[in-house]
C-alpha cells in the first residue's frame, strides 16, 4: 500500500523523524486555515500518488492568504498524469541550504535491507544511479542486527554530507530505519532530506510503501487503507475481498491463483486482445467468491467478454463448476463468458456444465483456444456497439 505524502509524513512523525509544521486541506478555505496555522510563507502541495508533481504545477509557494487561495484553487481538481487532486498538504516553507536523499528498502537478491544515502538529493535517485553512481553511499543492514548510531555516523561520513548536517542526519537515519523495520515498510524514502539555512535537518517529502501482509499488527493503518485506491472497480473488489487490479482492455479475466491470473492476461494479449483486469479468486473458487468476482467484472463498462480460467488442484473442478452455475444464477451478466476448466476432476466438471452452455456461456478445452474465443467475442461486441453509434 502506497501512502500519500501527508500520510507518509504522519507515519514518519510516529518514529521521531522531523518534518515541517503543516496540515491537510480538501478546500481552499481549509488551505488558508492550515497556512495561517503553519505560518507564512507556505508550500501548497498536491496529494497524488504519482511522481512529477512539481513539474505539473502541483507544488506552489505562497507568501500570503491571497496566494494560498489562488494556488489551492488551481491545484484542487488538477489532473496530474491521470490522478485528480482532491487533497492538499500545506506546510511552512523551509529555507533550504542543501538537499540529500535517504531510503531503505529490501535488497531481494542479497536478502538484507539496503540503505541508500546521497548528498545529491531532490532529483530522481534512478537518475543519480545512472549518471553518478559514486554519489550514492549504500549500506546493507542485517535484519537480525539492525542499524546502530555508530554505523549511521560512518555512513553519513561516507556519503560526504555537509559537516553541519552529519550528527542530525545520522539520528534521522536511525529513526528512518526504525520506521522502515518496526513500521513494516517495503520502502521508506526521504527525497529531499534537507539541511536548512539555520542548521536543521528534516524531511521535506515522504514516500512510504507499507507491506500489506503486516496489516494484522498495524491497526493504525486502517485510515490509510480507506484512501488507498481511487479506481471504483478496485474499491468494489477490495470491499468484496478480491485480489483485483484494473487494466485498460475489454476482456474481463477471472482465474484461480496469482500466477495463472497473470498468465491469463498475457495469453489474452498474445492472441491480439486486451485484458480489462487481473483478478485472482485464490484456491477456493466457491459460489460466493465466483459471484463476487462476476459482479465486479460486470460493473466495469469497458468489459465486452469474460474469460474464466480455472485449474483445479486441491479444489476439484466439479466443485468449481457447481459454484459457477450457482453464481450465474445470482448475477445477471452483460457479457458472454468463455470457460476453460482443467485439472482434477475436469471431466466431471465439464459434464455438470454441459446443459448450461449457450452462446452466452461457452467452454473451450485449452487456455489458448479460450483466450482466442474471448478476444473474438470482445471484438464482435465492439463492432456492434460502433455500428449502433
Amino acid at each position: 500500500m502506497d501512502l500519500y505524502e501527508y500520510q507518509g509524513k504522519q507515519y514518519f512523525a510516529r518514529y521521531g523523524i522531523p518534518t515541517s509544521p503543516g496540515g491537510v486541506a480538501d478546500s481552499v478555505d481549509e488551505a488558508v486555515a492550515q497556512a495561517e496555522a503553519a505560518g507564512y510563507p507556505v508550500v501548497v502541495k498536491a496529494q497524488v500518488k504519482v511522481g512529477g508533481r512539481g513539474k505539473a504545477g502541483g507544488i506552489k509557494l505562497a507568501a500570503d492568504a491571497q496566494e494560498v487561495r489562488r494556488h489551492a484553487g488551481a491545484i484542487l481538481g488538477m489532473d496530474i498524469k491521470g490522478h485528480v487532486v482532491h487533497r492538499l498538504w500545506v506546510e511552512h516553507a523551509s529555507d533550504i541550504a542543501t538537499e540529500y536523499y535517504a531510503s531503505f528498502t529490501l535488497d531481494r537478491p542479497a536478502k538484507t535491507h539496503l540503505g541508500m544515502l546521497s548528498a545529491e538529493g531532490g532529483v530522481e535517485i534512478e537518475e543519480v544511479a545512472a549518471t553518478n553512481p559514486g554519489a550514492i553511499a549504500r549500506i546493507h543492514v542485517d535484519p537480525v542486527r539492525g542499524l546502530d548510531l555508530d554505523t549511521a555516523r560512518r555512513w553519513v561520513d561516507d556519503a560526504a554530507l555537509d559537516e553541519a548536517a552529519r550528527a542530525q542526519a545520522a539520528e534521522v537515519l536511525v529513526a528512518l530505519y526504525r520506521c522502515y523495520e518496526e513500521g513494516d515498510c517495503d520502502l521508506a524514502e526521504i527525497n529531499p532530506l534537507i539541511l536548512t539555512t539555520d542548521g536543521r535537518v528534516h524531511a521535506l517529502d515522504a514516500k512510504v510503501t507499507l507491506d500489506d501482509n503486516a496489516r494484522f499488527r498495524h491497526p493504525e493503518w486502517d485510515e490509510f487503507a480507506a484512501t488507498e485506491t481511487e479506481d471504483p472497480r478496485e474499491k468494489m473488489a477490495k470491499e468484496k475481498g478480491l485480489n483485483y487490479i484494473g487494466l485498460d482492455g475489454d476482456v474481463g479475466v477471472i482465474a484461480n491463483g496469482a500466477g495463472l491470473a497473470m498468465s491469463t492476461c498475457d495469453v489474452v494479449n498474445q492472441v491480439g486482445g486486451r485484458p480489462a483486469n487481473f483478478l485472482d479468486i485464490g484456491g477456493g473458487a466457491n459460489a460466493d467468491l465466483m459471484s463476487s468476482a462476476m459482479e465486479v467484472i460486470n460493473a466495469d463498462p469497458s468489459v465486452r467478454s469474460i474469460f474464466v480460467n480455472i485449474f483445479g488442484g486441491i479444489t476439484r473442478v466439479d466443485e468449481v463448476a457447481k459454484g459457477l452455475i450457482e453464481a450465474l444464477g445470482r448475477v445477471d451478466l452483460r457479457s458472454p463468458i468463455v470457460l476453460r476448466l482443467d485439472g482434477t476432476n475436469a471431466e466431471e466438471g465439464r459434464a455438470l456444465l454441459q446443459p448450461h452452455l449457450s452462446d452466452r456461456l461457452m467452454a473451450e478445452r485449452t487456455m489458448l483456444e479460450a483466450a482466442r474465443k474471448a478476444v473474438a467475442l470482445a471484438g464482435a461486441a465492439e463492432q456492434k456497439s460502433e455500428e449502433r453509434a
Binding site: 529490501l106 531481494r108 537478491p109 536478502k111 538484507t112 535491507h113 534512478e126 542485517d142 535484519p143 537480525v144 523495520e181 513494516d184 517495503d186 507491506d211 500489506d212 501482509n213 503486516a214 494484522f216 499488527r217 485480489n243 487490479i245 487494466l247 482465474a255 484461480n256 491463483g257 496469482a258 500466477g259 495463472l260 491470473a261 497473470m262 498468465s263 492476461c265 498475457d266 495469453v267 489474452v268 494479449n269 498474445q270 485484458p275 487481473f278 485472482d280 484456491g283 485449474f311 483445479g312 488442484g313 486441491i314 482443467d342 485439472g343 482434477t344 485449452t366 487456455m367 489458448l368
Partner: protein
C-alpha cells in the same frame, strides 16, 4: 532419483488439531504415500489424531520419531516462530506454505537460518510445496496430476502454473523427477539456483522446466547460473508480460519496480543463457515434450 525429498523422507506436521489446515493437508500427503510420522501442538502433546502421534514441540517429535522434514501451514503471525522452532530441533528440510507473512519477518527468519542453522533448507513460504511423484508429497499439490518416473524436473514461483505444467506434461506421458514450488514471496528460503543446481546434479533429471514471473531479479540470476553451470536443457516460461509497473500482482514478490523486474528482461536473459523460452504455459509443455522425445 529426486531432489530434496524421497521415499525415505519422514515428516512432522506443525500445528495439528482436529480442525487445522495442517491436519487436512498432512492427511492428504499421507494418503499419497508420504511418511507422515508426527504432528505438533503445544496443547495436545501425547494425543493421537488420525493415527498421527502428537508432540508438544518439534524437538520432542524429532527425538521420538526421527522426522527429517517439517510441514508448516500455520497462520502468518505464527509462521516465523514455527520455522525457527523446526530449525532449532534439527529439521533439515522445512516446507512452509503459509501465505501472507510480513516481508520483514521473512528477511529476519531467512538471515537467522543462514547464520544459526546453515544445514537447514527452507522451502517457501507462500509456496505449494514439493512433490517427487510416487515417493513423497509435502504441501498442497494434487498428487493426481503428477506422473512418476521422470525425466523432467520442475521449479516454479507460482502454484497454479506449476499444476498447469505438471498436468500438461503428465497428459503427454512425460513424468517428473521432482516438482518444487519455491513460492512468490520477496524472500524465498529456496531459490531457482538452488533447484537448478540440484537438478543438474540429479542423474535421473534429464531436463528442467522453470516457471518464473515478474518482480525481483531471481530469473536473471538463474539465467547466469544456467549459462555457467547447467548442461541439461531448460525450458522457461515467465508470467506477467502485461503487468503494469508498480502493482503487486497477487504475489507479494510480483511487482515491477521502475524498469526492473519486467517479464521481457527476464525472458531475454534466459534466452541469452541458452534456455528455451515459451510464450505461454501450453507452449512450454509442448517444447518440453519435444525435448524429452529427442533425448529418447
Amino acid at each position: 532419483m529426486s531432489i530434496f525429498v524421497d521415499e525415505t523422507t519422514t515428516v512432522v506436521v506443525q500445528g495439528v488439531s482436529p480442525t487445522s489446515q495442517g491436519l487436512y493437508h498432512g492427511l492428504r500427503n499421507r494418503a499419497y504415500g508420504t511418511k507422515v510420522v508426527a504432528g505438533t501442538n503445544p496443547k495436545r502433546g501425547g494425543e493421537v489424531i488420525e493415527d498421527i502421534p502428537i508432540f508438544a514441540t518439534v524437538a520432542e517429535a524429532v527425538q521420538e520419531t526421527g522426522a527429517t522434514a517439517s510441514f508448516i501451514s500455520v497462520p502468518p503471525p505464527f509462521a516465523a516462530a514455527a520455522i525457527l522452532e523446526a530449525a532449532e530441533a534439527g529439521i533439515a528440510f522445512i516446507v512452509c506454505i503459509t501465505e501472507g507473512i510480513p516481508a520483514h519477518d521473512e528477511a529476519r527468519t531467512y538471515n537467522r537460518l543462514v547464520e544459526e542453522h546453515p544445514v537447514t533448507r527452507l522451502l517457501g513460504p507462500n509456496c505449494p510445496g514439493i512433490i517427487s511423484p510416487g515417493k513423497c508429497n509435502i504441501g498442497i499439490t494434487s498428487g493426481d496430476i503428477a506422473l512418476p518416473g521422470g525425466p523432467v524436473g520442475i521449479v516454479s514461483r507460482s502454484g497454479t502454473l506449476t499444476y498447469q505444467a505438471l498436468h500438461e506434461l503428465s497428459q503427454q506421458g512425460v513424468g517428473q523427477t521432482t516438482c518444487v514450488g519455491i513460492g512468490g514471496d520477496p524472500v524465498p528460503g529456496t531459490n531457482f539456483i538452488d533447484c537448478l543446481a540440484a537438478f543438474q546434479a540429479d542423474p535421473d533429471t534429464k531436463a528442467v522446466m522453470m516457471i518464473g514471473e515478474i518482480g525481483g531479479s531471481e530469473e536473471e540470476r538463474a539465467a547466469e547460473f544456467i549459462s555457467a553451470n547447467v548442461t541439461k536443457p531448460v525450458v522457461c516460461y515467465i508470467a506477467g508480460v502485461t503487468a503494469p509497473p508498480g502493482r503487486k500482482m497477487g504475489h507479494a514478490g510480483a511487482i515491477i519496480s521502475g524498469s526492473k523486474g519486467t517479464a521481457q528482461a527476464k525472458m531475454e536473459a534466459l534466452q541469452k543463457a541458452g534456455a528455451t523460452v515459451a510464450e505461454n504455459p501450453t507452449e512450454a509443455a509442448v517444447r518440453m515434450v519435444e525435448i524429452v522425445k529427442e533425448l529418447g
